[in-house]
Amino acid sequence: MQLTIITDLNKCVGCKSCQVSCKEHNTAGAFGPVPDNDPYRDPDGMWWNRIVGMETGEYPNAGVLYLPKACMHCYDAPCVPVCPTGASYKRQDNGVVLVDYDSCIGCQLCMWACPYGVREFDEEHGVVKKCTMCIDRLEDESLPDYERQPACVQSCPTHARTFGDLDDPESKVSQLVAQRQGFGLLPELGARPAVHYLPRRPAPVVIDEKDVLRVMEERY
């Protein structure tokens, strides 16, 4: 099993709801905290999910693109083998990459090894922290089903984000990646990110026999 989040770049409007809800949940969550020592004077502190905004193209064919960027929970996560203490590890059962704060020495080597710059150093606790895929929510059996998904997925107002198992060919995320040419970032660095994005192009219209018959009946 490899849990992942797929973001449809056609739907993402850069509202940062996922960025804020990540911080909100994990500041209080069991696997946190995301430090927030001086939130008003220093809002540029630690975020596990950051929305990068870009202008694309040249006028008059210009546009704006938003790229939500958090841990990609890579298949070949380069942050894991470099860690001398074993604090960085990848779960065998669901593919989520986590940090064991108790054995982290704060050497930051994993931050240099991660191609995506999504690990964050907590100066106060002296450890590296990052997106946990909200593992505390996923595994909390006391939560209702709709809450057992990452906070960023649940809070996205445009439903741009989809959560699921990329190793299951029948899952929604696998089908989205297969049908919509989902891609991972910086593939040349060999980390094999599990997190994928759906490119900005019109979604292909899927028409089956039933649709054809219905339209034929309505019109002719």
Binding site: G57, Y59, C114, V118, L186
Partner: protein
């Protein structure tokens, strides 16, 4: 990435200590013999430097209480291996340097210890260099040049320290031989550094926002890096781009202190008249240059995530402008 004092001290002092130890080995086994007391003093100096480097490595760990786990990933982590090899090196060196206080010198243990210390020094320097060279995301470091440069600079800094010790003692034959060797070593250092700086420039230029999206509608301009800004407190793998003048100035300092001044000292030393204080100045100059070189190695390195932090040149909007449109001006004039 952010250069930190412990990182500078660990890498520079480990190279310096290893270089001195290997220079001592060269004099013990290959070169014309220098005086025993000088070699023993050099061993003590090398050990003291290794200890200072080791102490500074504790300051690089932000949670030393978890340090007991550091050898857990010897199979895959170069940092685990670095802790092991540097520890072994310091232990063997300690025995060889401090042993003469209680054991007879020039007996078998001294020579065996010397050989083992030299091998351990080489291994520790190699492993430390590999730690940096094997990180694909650090575009400026992911190259054999990193290993070559760290080893060459470390060995040369030790060589210059040894030259200073010998120069002070006026051992003309030993100084002459070492000076010829250092002449070659300095030329190698200069060549490797120039190639490495070119690699740093290429890495910097090859990364921009367009490479970070995987999509074709280029060009891209970052408008919001997602609630972060220089100096990227929580993201030490990136560091604001160095101003061109600062980078150029520091590179000039490196060339002056690690190449030109030491070469001047060597030329003065070759004819046998320049030994003494001049060799000490040469060693100090090279060591100073090594610290500047290492600061640049860290501070000027480009990480792949820079594609999303890039402080790209601002391109003015083609639509919004402060100047009144000539067409509008014409219309108003004719109203």
């Amino acid at each position: 990435m952010r250069p930190t004092t412990p990182l500078l001290l660990i890498t520079v002092l480990q190279g310096l200590s290893g270089g001195i130890t290997l220079a001592i080995a060269a004099f013990s086994f290959l070169l014309p013999p220098a005086s025993d007391s000088i070699l023993r003093n050099a061993l003590l100096l090398s050990f003291a430097i290794a200890v200072i480097g080791g102490i500074s490595s504790f300051f690089h760990m932000h949670r030393p209480q978890a340090g007991k786990y550091i050898l857990r990933r010897l199979k895959t982590s170069w940092l685990s291996r670095e802790a092991l090899t540097t520890g072994i090196y310091a232990m063997i060196l300690g025995v060889v340097a401090l042993g003469p206080l209680v054991l007879p010198v020039n007996s078998w243990w001294y020579w065996v210890g010397g050989v083992l210390a030299s091998i351990a020094a080489l291994a520790a320097m190699f492993v430390t260099a590999m730690l940096y060279a094997t990180i694909p995301a650090m575009r400026s470091w992911h190259s054999p040049l990193t290993v070559l440069s760290m080893m060459a600079v470390g060995l040369s800094s030790g060589g210059y320290a040894m030259l200073a010790l010998l120069g002070e003692s006026h051992l003309a034959a030993a100084v002459h031989r070492l000076a010829i060797f250092m002449l070659l070593a300095t030329i190698v250092v200069a060549g490797v550094k120039l190639l490495q700086w070119k690699l740093f420039r290429d890495a910097r230029r090859s990364l921009n926002a367009a490479t970070g999206t995987g999509m074709p509608r280029a060009p891209y301009r970052i408008i919001d890096t997602g609630t972060t800004r220089p100096p990227y407190h929580t993201q030490t793998q990136v560091w604001p781009d160095l101003p061109v003048s600062l980078r150029g100035g520091l590179e000039a300092v490196v060339v002056l202190t690690m190449v030109l001044l030491p070469l001047g000292v060597i030329v003065a030393t070759l004819d046998g008249t320049g030994a003494g204080l001049l060799t000490v100045l040469g060693a100090i100059s090279f060591l100073f240059g090594t610290f500047v070189e290492r600061w640049l190695f860290f501070g000027d390195a480009t990480h792949s995530s820079k594609v999303w932090f890039v402080d790209q040149e601002k391109v003015g909007s083609r639509v919004a402008t402060n100047r009144p449109s000539p067409a509008l001006v014409h219309r108003f004039r004719n109203m």
